[in-house]
Amino acid sequence: MSIVKKPGAIANWYLPGIFAGMWFTLVTMIRNIFNQDKMITKNYPEDKYEYSPRFKGNHVLTVKKDGSLRCTACMLCATACPADCIKIKASEHENPAVEKYPISYEIDILRCVYCGYCEEACPVDAVRMGPEWQTPGLAGTNFSYDIQHLAYRAQLKGGVLSRVDDEERHKAGI
């Protein structure tokens, strides 16, 4: 509970307050001009914050060593998703060792609540919450991310490698 204080008579006379404020602004401005690296604010978008690697930003679909999608279209992420924002269509892969893969994987990022359940549900480290958080777009369709965007967007530089490797799993007898 906050206590409401009655403003005193001096406070009612507001000009000193204004000057004090402007003085503070002036001092800070001058300090910032000569001391730019200690500045708290950033020059967005030229300057960006470094986020912790555990930051849960926009989704990334990981890839295998050969660059194909790691995702097996098990739909556990879609099942776990509380916002119902993941839509997957599965199909039979021509390689019997892969068997099932997604022909479409869409995340409606406007519905997403960034809870990270999809990442947790994934049995093969195929979907991760990435470091990016900027989601600008000009039209509604820009917010429906497809495989091309989720796995191979320019920022990912050819894709993020999944930690789960089929060969190693086979060797381990799984």
Binding site: T79, A90, E92, P96, E99, A172, G173
Partner: protein, 517 residues
């Protein structure tokens, strides 16, 4: 009749009943894989172990007949421990495939592990590798690693379909299910093996990877594929139907259904449906509103009756609709129009009485018997040739045809449409979008009808057994039932079952968005 005590509960069973059947009778839980009531006893999964008082060894419930006074339990520590290990033995070489396995969600291994297992696995050695994604034919894919060798499928091909395609090759933990090269699993009942497979070893190519089963709802209905009227469960979501599985009814189909019946979900789905009423002929068609078409139909019939008598109006019915629909349509015709110009369109007269000895009948309509009953009641006996004569003579002003719901069972559709085109005005009512109907050469109105998945009603099978169907999901919003058509024509408001209602509001919001998860 012997009495026994199962887990403290007394139960009386028929002589010769096995313990597992007694458990089922009591709805008592018992772990099992290889036992299937429709097949012989194999006794190989060794999970249905029970303790019988006075017997130091645990016995399998599926091969032990209940004797009077037996005291049986499957909840002692000894049994539980055995079942747990039994599950462990099943799972040590079972791959961790669940994410890509179609059976996940309805897999007996998952279900029974959660019920009876829940141990920490001890296996540290590599699993046995076997063949995966083995093509068994045009309908089924096998994954040998997932197979737990319960032999249900092998027994099915041996005992039920009697086609002997499947066998278990090799021995020990190298055993694998398979077919002989050049003799694939191709019989009319093959997909039943997928249903009885307790794990994801056999998967249906048709359903493979199309949906995770937990996204699907199901309802009990009756297969419209033939006059046997197999009891089935249809699996659907808001997009439509995905598959059909049999459910047990000893009087009708036992535990099985044929593969042709499994395809009956396809014609329900949007891509095969007539989506809106249209008018036109010879490939030139314009969209219409339902109400508009109904009033045109009503006017045309009234005009024809007024000018030339009710003989100029005829109705053609197929055995694809519910008894309720026949009743309202016939009472409109006979009661309202005073016409007995109703004809039964037999889709395949040559093979109509065929029977494959198991389930599939040549009469590929679900309700021929219902239609015949309806015609009988109204004393309608006009043979098909009458209609042909009248059409050829140009005597028919308005022809109403309740056409096929499933056009694939109407081999002579095109010829029939060209025959119907001899009427001056043709009202073609059908759920299906067909090229044949689009090729009609007279002025034709096409009116979309509801399929069996969208309406309530009764089918009467070849034996005369009445069976109910129930609506699942609306695929085509503007589709009508024949009852609705009849009421619109007679100016009465009736519900889809034919009973009178005062005022009916349609709520399009529900129609568009209903049926979601």
């Amino acid at each position: 009749m012997p009495k026994c005590k199962i887990n403290g509960q007394e139960v009386e069973v028929e002589a010769g009943t096995t313990i597992i059947e007694a458990f089922k009778k009591l709805d008592s839980e018992i772990a099992h894989y290889c036992y299937h009531p429709g097949l012989s006893v194999a006794g190989v999964c060794r999970l249905c172990m029970v303790e019988i008082e006075g017997n130091p060894r645990l016995q399998i419930a599926c091969n032990t007949v209940v004797q009077d006074g037996m005291v049986i339990n499957n909840n002692s520590e000894k049994v539980k421990e055995t079942v747990k290990w039994g599950l462990d033995f099943h799972l040590i070489n079972h791959p961790l495939d669940c994410p890509i396995c179609d059976q996940a969600g309805e897999c007996e291994l998952q279900i029974q592990y959660m019920k009876f297992g829940q141990y920490d696995p001890e296996m540290a050695e590599p699993k046995v590798k076997k063949n995966k994604v083995v093509d068994l034919g045009s309908k089924i894919v096998l994954d040998s690693e997932r197979c737990i060798l319960c032999s249900r499928c092998v027994r099915f091909t041996e005992e039920v379909s009697k086609t002997n395609e499947l066998g278990i090759f090799n021995r020990g933990d190298r055993s694998e299910i398979g077919t002989f090269d050049g003799k694939p699993l191709e019989n009319d009942y093959a997909v039943n093996t997928v249903d009885i497979c307790p794990v994801g070893a056999l998967t249906s190519k048709d359903f493979r990877f199309r949906q995770r089963v937990w996204y699907l709802k199901n309802k009990e209905t009756v297969c419209p594929g033939c006059s046997t009227g197999c009891n089935v469960k249809s699996y659907y979501n808001e997009e439509g139907l995905f598959r059909v599985k049999p459910r047990q009814n000893d009087e009708v189909n036992g535990y099985w259904m044929c593969d042709k019946g499994r395809d009956t979900y396809k014609f329900v789905n949007k891509e095969n449906r007539l989506l809106e009423p249209k008018v036109g002929q010879s490939g030139q068609w314009d969209s219409q509103e339902v109400d508009g078409v109904m009033s045109v139909m009503s006017t045309k019939i009234d005009d024809a009756v007024k000018s030339a008598g009710s003989d100029k109006v005829a109705l053609v019915l197929t055995g694809q609709y519910t008894s309720e629909e026949y009743a309202s349509m016939l009472s409109y015709f006979v009661g309202h129009l005073k016409s007995k110009n109703v004809y039964h369109w037999v889709n395949n007269p040559e093979s109509f009485d065929e029977f494959d000895g198991l389930l599939l009948r040549g009469d590929r309509n679900p309700n021929t018997k219902g239609l015949l009953n309806g015609l009988d009641q109204h004393g309608i006996t006009a043979p098909w040739s009458d209609l042909e004569t009248k059409l050829n003579a140009g005597d028919i002003e308005v022809l109403l045809v309740a056409g096929p719901e499933d056009p694939s069972v109407f081999p002579t559709l095109t010829e029939k449409v060209s025959l119907f085109s001899k009427a001056k005005n043709l009202f073609w009512m059908s759920a299906a979008k067909t090229e044949a109907a689009d090729s009609a050469t007279t002025k034709t109105w096409q009116i979309p009808l509801k399929t069996y998945a969208e309406k309530e009603g009764t089918f009467v099978n070849h034996k005369g057994i009445e069976q109910k169907i129930q609506p699942m999901v609306n695929i085509v919003d503007c589709a009508q039932t024949l009852s609705e058509v009849a009421s619109a024509l007679s100016g009465q408001k009736v519900d889809h079952l034919g009973s009178l209602v005062k005022d009916r509001k349609t709520n399009h919001f529900i129609n568009h968005h209903g049926g979601g998860l």
